[in-house]
């Protein structure tokens, strides 16, 4: 690893964001905190796509197109997840995921 910025640096940053998102999803009890973890993971994937689009001429368009799809689908996912969370809050007056246990066997 040199100090000059290469593809590895971007991939390391993407890995950091991915791990942050995964730990956030696993350790938060607030449902909206879990949603933030999902956003971090999706951003990590987007960084990887755009970095490959720049460093690898084969993916020069594919990387950016997939990044755009990821951004659009993340917006849709956030809208639906927030609708579900607000619905749960209306019914149970709580956003603690530990209280969502009605379907537990």
């Amino acid at each position: 690893m040199t100090l000059t910025v290469g593809l590895t640096h971007f991939l390391l940053l993407g890995a950091l964001l991915f791990v942050c998102g995964a730990v956030c999803m696993a350790s938060k009890r607030n449902a909206i905190g879990i949603l933030m973890g999902v956003e971090l993971v999706l951003n990590a994937a987007t960084i990887n796509f755009v970095a490959f689009a720049r460093y690898n001429p084969i993916f020069q368009v594919e990387g950016q197109i997939f990044a755009l799809f990821v951004i659009v689908l993340a917006a849709a996912e956030a809208a639906i997840a927030l609708a579900i969370v607000l619905n749960f809050y209306n019914n149970h007056l709580s956003v603690d995921v530990d209280t969502a246990e009605e379907l537990k066997g």
Binding site: L40, I58, V85
Partner: protein
């Protein structure tokens, strides 16, 4: 170190530190603020990589739209027990250990494998500076993958003889998907008739089970 390197390290430090702060902080409002800086740093990295359109889209859709949705969700549910939801120290230790191990594995595999093209930042391609190529690839006017041969088509056919491999169908699917999400979100989060909330009468006998907040379940 060139200017690009300095800019990368500044942006990467901002993004990484803010992402760590999203995980570490227990206050959900502060986590939303840290997430804002993380997303803005990611869009700055896109600009640094020469992906102007993706960076602008990230700013518009993510920072301007998705994050506002998340902040609305935080505000609508911001009651005192849910702002600070702490987990126990043991759970926190397990999460930290798992995260460190996962990052160690990912980073070690990256550094060991040393992926192709890990040299200096290549010069930006002029044709990617504007979004014309992206639009053409989405609409099928441009052969999307001429060098990659990822499309399953034989590589020895001349580009003019090929079918145009484009992203028109995924584009349409995403459009319909957004429409479905619009309807679904409006249906899920619509204002329902409120459940009966009556002032709790004093219990006549101890057998009647009342919800502590007066909601009839």
């Amino acid at each position: 170190m060139t200017l690009t390197d300095v800019l990368f390290y500044i942006l990467a430090a901002m993004t990484g530190i803010c992402a760590l702060a999203v995980v570490v902080t227990q206050n959900i409002v502060r986590a939303a603020a840290w997430l804002l800086f993380t997303l803005a740093g990611v869009s700055g990295l896109f600009f640094l990589l020469g992906a102007d359109f993706v960076g602008a889209t990230q700013l518009l859709v993510y920072v301007g739209g998705t994050l506002v949705l998340v902040v609305f969700g935080v505000m609508l549910t911001a009651q005192s027990p849910f702002i600070d939801m702490r987990i126990s120290a043991a759970e926190w230790g397990i999460a930290l250990a798992v995260g460190l191990v996962l990052y160690g594995i990912l980073a070690a595999s990256l550094v060991i494998s040393n992926p192709q093209g890990a040299g200096a930042l290549p010069p930006p391609r002029e044709e990617l500076a504007d979004s014309t190529l992206l639009g053409q690839a989405l609409l099928g006017e441009w052969q999307a993958s001429p060098q990659g041969n990822m499309s399953g088509l034989p590589a020895n056919v001349s580009p003019h003889g090929r079918l145009a491999v484009s992203y028109l169908l995924p584009f349409e699917i995403v459009s319909v998907h957004l429409l479905v999400v619009l309807i679904g979100a409006a249906y899920l989060a619509r204002a329902k008739r409120r459940r009966l909330v009556r002032p709790t009468p004093p219990p006549v006998d101890g057998s009647a089970h009342e919800h502590p907040l007066g909601v009839q379940t």
